[in-house]
Symmetry: C2
Subunit: 193 residues, 2 copies
């Protein structure tokens, strides 16, 4: 039904001040994240995505790198009836194939790349409005596409992750995913109540 | 049945080279962990607890701070028929009360202390042999207690955590726990297969 492995298709960085990411030949990964990307850093300043904190709080950066699934992007494009949805419009860093349900990966899942880099998933990448605006600007004749994008992209925008072990990632290398220990039923019950 | 909140009872540090932790008045928490504790650091050198890596690999340190539940320690002591199990024998850093199932907390759970510190749970603290040896040395007449400890302590040894937001933790302050997003059924199914 779905695989816990896949292939790296592309590496991209978002330079500081840019809204879209740009493809690069390979990615140098340090404990701060992807070298040259504006989301790298050991810490970040909290904003709307961290409701636990007052805006502007310095916290540990678990959102260093964004990973998206080629299959999920193709599904969004199909729903929008456009030829493709480019990962760069979502400011993504790593495009992978072979993991069609990547966005649903639980917090704590390890992504082990064949070249040695290990990233840890800190959850789904929640919506921001920039990609919808980019898609709208590219398809001005489709007057509803911005709104449709938000619905079509739900739970398909990939995941954010941080670095457990640094190194270099190259397009073409494979990866496997290790899920963390499954939740004990005592907590699942809590979620349902 | 169980609460997602509690009270800090004690703070302890394990100085470098020591096997047991020592109580301190309060804990200064940086992004590296608990100041003065030998487990603090942004990175650690992998050992038997990280089967994903060859021993000696430098990886991100998600095991900075050990938190134990007073209720779970009391349950272990009751099973062993001894008056108490001291958190220091397990080299623990923070003793809490009010969370009787602390050891079962899922990876990614946030522990938000009333003084502002936030730690993230990286899972259950798996067994090591030191506490069993300490208990055995204290109760030489109970010749089986070392072996019994291993069984009694299973899933009651607390959790390891790392720092998302630094600050100071004082005994007596309260905390609440936020669970991460529940696993999507697609992954639970995978675990069962």
């Amino acid at each position: 039904m779905r695989k816990l492995e896949g292939i790296v298709e592309k590496i991209l960085i978002t330079p500081s001040g840019e809204k879209v990411s740009m493809e690069v030949d390979s990615g140098e990964i340090t404990f701060e994240g992807l070298e040259g990307d504006c989301h790298s850093g050991l810490t970040l300043i909290s904003h709307g995505r961290q409701p636990e904190y007052p805006k502007g709080t310095v916290i540990s950066n678990l959102r260093q790198i964004t990973i998206l699934s080629a299959e999920e992007l193709a599904d969004i494009a199909a729903d929008l009836q456009i030829p493709e949805l480019d990962i760069s419009w979502l400011s993504g860093n790593i495009l992978v194939s072979g993991s069609p349900h990547l966005s649903l990966l639980p917090f704590g899942s390890r992504i082990l790349f064949s070249g040695g880099v290990v990233l840890i998933c800190s959850g789904e990448n929640n919506p921001c409005s920039t990609p919808a605006k980019i898609v709208q600007s590219l398809y001005p004749e489709k007057t509803e596409i911005s709104r449709e994008f938000v619905r079509a992209a739900m739970h398909r925008r990939g995941i954010v992750a941080w670095v457990e072990h640094p190194g270099r990632i190259n397009p073409g290398e494979s990866f496997r995913i290790e899920l963390p220990a499954a939740w004990d039923p005592i907590w699942v019950e809590n979620e349902a109540s």
